[in-house]
């Protein structure tokens, strides 16, 4: 078991003929992910990657032809909101949006629309999902993680890679790694994923990696103390971040004194989460 994706995932890639889309589709196929279709409007009928993947003009047509159930989005930011709506309207149940830089008002409209339907969105501005040994839907390098019983959830990309790598060095494997993304408005938050890990039989321990901005980590702390039986260790980036500055991620900003790393660490520690001083220390806290 794992969460969200496994070897039965039937993946359609939106923006498959773009540079990023093509490169990562080939990486995902190499990893063993079941990529069954791609979408680029106007390129329906083409085949990419030496005839491995058929391209369709729309997600609707791709779903009708291939019964895809999961979509990954690599389209440019200005088209990303529409791509998410299109996937949802085509009946896709799980959408992973990798694209960075989607306008926040677009995301508010998308999120409020998706909330009325039975669909889960991961991201945007995220590295996607990795269930080691089974499937990778995203851009996390496959070779840095091994299968295991630790669920990983994070707002960051390369910081997560550091943690997966440190885990692997200790021969600690992951059940599923979920990059929920660094935007202020996203499809899935810590609580959603913690809840899935709590109910996943394969997951025995959890690592969460947060950062400054918003109150998702505080909400997670509350959830952990009242609903979780599995041990959680974590890390919060941004102790040294100045106030009022956006630290790369659109959502990583301390506004009006709220959303500081210190507050988040305090909340998590109060909920019994062991919080590391630096990322390589996190896996050692679960031993």
């Amino acid at each position: 078991m794992s969460i969200l994706i496994d070897k039965n995932t039937r993946l359609v890639v939106q923006g498959i003929t773009g540079k990023e889309g093509l490169f990562h589709t080939s990486q995902m196929i190499d990893y063993g992910t079941n990529v069954i279709a791609g979408v680029t409007p106007g390129k329906g009928g083409d085949w990419v990657l030496n005839g491995k993947v058929p391209v369709f003009d729309s997600v609707k047509i791709a779903v009708e032809a291939t019964e895809a159930n999961t979509s990954i989005i690599f389209v440019p930011a200005r088209f990303a909101a529409e791509a998410m709506l299109e996937a949802s309207d085509a009946g896709i149940e799980l959408i992973i949006c990798i694209t960075e830089g989607v306008p926040v008002q677009d995301m508010m409209r998308v999120r409020n629309y998706l909330d009325q339907r039975k669909v889960r969105l991961i991201g945007p501005n995220c590295p996607g999902l990795l269930t080691p040994g089974q499937a990778k839907v995203g851009i996390i390098p496959g070779n840095i993680a091994i299968p295991g019983n630790v669920g990983v959830v994070s707002r960051s990309g390369t910081l997560t890679y550091e943690v997966l790598n440190a885990m692997k060095n200790l021969k600690m494997g992951a059940s599923t790694c979920v990059g929920i993304g660094g935007d202020p408005i996203s499809g899935t938050n810590f609580v959603d994923v913690l809840n899935m890990f709590e109910h996943d039989p394969q997951t025995e321990k959890v690592i969460m990696i947060g950062e400054i901005g918003g109150s998702d980590e505080e909400n997670a702390a509350e959830f952990i103390s009242s609903n979780m039986t599995k041990p959680v260790a974590g890390f919060i980036a941004g102790l040294t971040a100045p106030r009022g500055k956006r630290m790369g991620h659109a959502g990583a900003i301390i506004e009006g004194g709220a959303g500081t790393a210190a507050d988040k660490i305090k909340a998590l520690e109060a909920a019994g989460v062991k919080v590391a001083k630096h990322p390589e220390e996190i896996p050692t806290l679960l031993n």
Binding site: M108, N112, I140, G157, Y161, G214, R246, H249, H278
Partner: protein
């Protein structure tokens, strides 16, 4: 991206929000001339992108034309929180009966825009929110439906606005919502919105923050960016698509990924150092971008050591190494540098840098310890040079 007050008011007035008659000028002489056109009794306001202008003496009333020139001269010579005042807004001074707060911002938890108002405007609204939250009334706006007139009426009732002003208030809230939506704002605020002696509503101040990610579809607003208000290194970094923030420490850092870049700052601090910057080179950066990033880091004279921490995924470590070597040729850095390359093509990257006289590290914690130690040695070195001169 923050807009100046005069820019925000320009945007708001396009959406039918009433604002005082005014003009932005950059000399005292222009201020005098415009004050004369307005009849002499004017308010002169420093245009800098920081809060607390009033407390700093950057907003003053002039009683006549001479006064206007004198005050403009004073304010144009000011520095407010480190920012030089280059422009002042000269406006008709309103006679105020009551000050109201009105603003729209994004609520991250509700995933919706929130319209907020308070009968106690004109002061720092965050302070009001912290001390007396019951004095702020809020309504969440469905982003798919937009602001509804009844929501504005509920807000008007909530702040005990005189009923004779409700119609104007409805028009202003609609204007504010349209400005927020049409400008992809993350904040659109009127503080204060005032009831004048003649019982009309007018926006005496305006503040807008625009979503950087939406500037591609807002060419007119994108042109309003005032680069005087940011560190020159930040402007340069933006040109290269680098995410850079200057800090006060002495250890430069170059990292791929925002979360990891923040973490590197934290780990440097954890081991007793002080980061000189936040720098995310982004995913898939090529050698040119890396070289540009390195030049920006090394242009900061405070920098006594540099840490490069690259976890290759989309970013290839050999490409980063090539960028570092290219920049080293023309910058010829004299400070010690610690490099850690992991992931895609890390070995090729390390091989390229093997003759570059850099300190290497295997772990992030190890790299941070080494760069903190190197910065200390390097700082002592400079002090000695300083003493002997």
């Amino acid at each position: 991206m923050k807009l100046h007050e005069y820019q925000s008011k320009l945007v708001l007035s396009k959406y039918n929000v009433p604002i005082p008659q005014g003009r932005v000028v950059s000399t005292a002489n222009e201020a005098r001339q415009f004050a004369k056109e307005l009849g002499g009794y004017v308010v002169i306001k420093a245009q800098v992108l920081v809060g607390g202008r009033g407390k700093a003496g950057g907003i003053k009333i002039a009683k006549n034309v001479e006064d206007a020139e004198k005050i403009a001269t004073q304010i144009l010579a000011m520095e407010i929180k480190g920012l030089t005042v280059k422009k002042v807004l000269v406006e008709t001074a309103a006679i105020i009966e009551q000050e109201i707060y009105l603003g729209i911002t994004n609520d991250r938890t509700q995933k919706k825009p929130v319209l907020m108002a308070s009968a106690e405007g004109g002061v720092d609204i965050e302070e009001v929110a912290a001390k007396t939250p019951d004095k702020i009334v809020k309504v969440y706006i469905d982003p798919l439906l937009g602001l509804q007139p009844y929501q504005a009426r509920n807000i008007a009732a909530g702040i005990y606005l005189p009923r004779e002003n409700w119609q104007e208030f409805g028009m202003i809230t609609k204007g504010l919502w349209d400005a927020y939506k049409g400008s992809d704002a993350t904040l659109a605020e009127i503080n204060p919105l005032v009831i004048t002696k003649s019982k009309h509503l007018i926006a005496l101040d305006g503040k807008m923050v625009i979503d950087n990610n939406a500037l591609f579809r807002l060419p007119e607003l994108a042109e309003m960016r005032d680069t005087d208000e940011e560190a020159p290194s930040e402007t340069r970094a933006r040109k290269y698509g680098l995410s850079f923030i200057k800090l006060d420490g002495n250890i430069g850092c170059m990292v791929n990924g925002a979360g990891l870049a923040m973490t590197c700052m934290d780990v440097i601090k954890h081991f007793g150092g002080e980061p000189a910057n936040f720098l995310d080179i982004g995913g898939g950066a090529d050698a040119d971008k890396v070289a540009a990033a390195m030049r920006i880091i090394l242009s900061d004279k405070n920098v006594k050591a540099v840490l490069y921490n690259i976890f290759g995924g989309i970013t290839r470590c050999d490409e980063v190494a090539r960028g570092i070597l290219a920049a080293m040729e023309d910058v010829k850095p004299k400070v010690p540098m610690v490099v850690r390359l992991v992931g895609t093509n890390a070995e090729q990257g390390r091989a390229l840098l093997s003759n570059a006289n850099m300190i290497t590290a295997d772990t992030l914690a190890g790299a941070a310890e080494k760069v903190v130690a190197a910065a200390k040695v390097s700082t002592k070195g400079t002090e000695k040079v300083g003493a002997s001169q």
